[in-house]
């Protein structure tokens, strides 16, 4: 593993910023935030009891901003390796549009603001869980696991899986088994999702000295682990229906889409060289995003539908 010493991305702190608002928005990792919004919303919607719409909305906003804040802290700390990798070198800090200090301040301010807002608006259990999630992603994953072990995204994936639990806690003041099931779905989904991308970008990770599974343990081992996690994920994806908090429609969709996930993982396992291997990895990566949006999207829509019908009935 190489320790990155190149600090050329760093700016003179006296330089006047030319950062636009959209650069700060990019620091929040908006694509991750959309996923957090959807999964946290699923946690809020499936929580027991009733939460006022505005309280639910502000809680969701606080969770999304908290997730964005941890993204900003991640971009602050990882600017040295982001500057090396093709996928990340245009991010605001390595490209010089925002200084490291500005990203750090932005991340810290939003972290405190989101946690205290959630505490005051919803409850302190949810706020504590959000604070732990930010700490887990920014410190445990970014500062420790990412550069240390190829299991980085397996353990670190817990941070991305917490939003349904935080959402449930915000809406009900408790942690339910339903929200733990939603956590488990995201937790098992993360390794095949990221490793499919890491297969395509393994040279990048190698140059940056990040021990991702493909460059640390080899492509064959990665393909095997992708298949194992996919085989675990597919049945867990069906649990919301089996545990009775999702409809048979969700049940059928989760079975079919889970089988599709395993089929694509099997394709990644079989195709090991050249363009077919790359296209299999790309296919699984794209499908994995669709899969998670589908499961949580259906869960949110049908729970919202049931709520509306209850009100009307």
């Amino acid at each position: 593993m190489t320790y990155v010493k190149d600090q050329s991305y760093k700016q003179d702190s006296l330089e006047i910023s030319i950062a636009e608002p959209k650069d700060y928005f990019t620091l929040l990792k908006p694509r991750v935030m959309y996923l957090v919004v959807l999964t946290a919303l699923a946690g809020i919607m499936t929580a027991p009891g009733h939460v006022h719409g505005l309280i639910g909305f502000v809680s969701l906003l606080a969770i999304a901003v908290g997730a964005g804040a941890s993204g900003a802290l991640n971009m602050w700390y990882d600017a040295d390796i982001d500057a090396i990798m093709t996928r990340t070198k245009t991010r605001p800090v390595p490209s010089g549009r925002i200084t490291g200090d500005q990203a750090l301040a932005f991340g810290l301010i939003l972290s405190f603001a989101s946690v205290f807002t959630l505490g005051l608006v919803a409850n302190w259990l949810a706020a504590s869980l959000l604070a732990f999630t930010i700490f887990f992603y920014a410190v445990i994953y970014t500062m420790w696991l990412k550069r240390w072990t190829p299991q980085n995204i397996v353990i670190g994936g817990a941070a991305g899986a917490f939003p349904p639990i935080v959402g449930c806690a915000a809406a009900s003041g408790t942690i339910t088994w339903d929200s733990v099931i939603l956590f488990t779905i995201i937790f098992l989904w993360t390794p095949p999702h990221f490793w499919a991308l890491a297969i395509l970008k393994s040279q990048d990770y190698e140059e940056a000295g990040v021990p991702m599974m493909p460059n640390a343990k080899g492509l064959d081992r990665t393909r095997l682990e992708i298949l194992i996690y996919s085989l675990l994920l597919a049945p867990v994806g069906v649990l919301p229906w089996l545990f009775g908090f999702a409809s048979p429609v969700y049940g059928v969709l989760s079975i079919v889409s889970g089988l599709g996930f395993v089929a694509l993982a099997w394709r990644v396992f079989q195709r090991r060289t050249g363009k077919p291997a790359d296209s299999a990895a790309k296919g699984l990566f794209a499908y994995s995003i669709l899969y998670l949006f589908l499961l949580f999207g259906v869960l949110v829509i049908e729970t919202a539908g049931a709520l509306i019908l209850n009100r009307l009935g």
């Binding site: 910023s17 030319i18 636009e20 608002p21 006022h52 505005l54 608006v121």
Partner: protein
Amino acid sequence: MMMAETDTQIGIKLNPAQEKSRRNRNIAIGLILAALIVLFYAVTIVKLGPSVLNRPL
């Protein structure tokens, strides 16, 4: 007279790109603060209940 002319030149002069980005950042901060004021007001009313508006002054 000389003194006044010198005073106006003290400090950092922003170029057009820096001025534009600073203005855009200020507008964004202003809009976000305004939205937060509305949001926190609404949350306060929801949490305290609408009867808070009916108390005798």
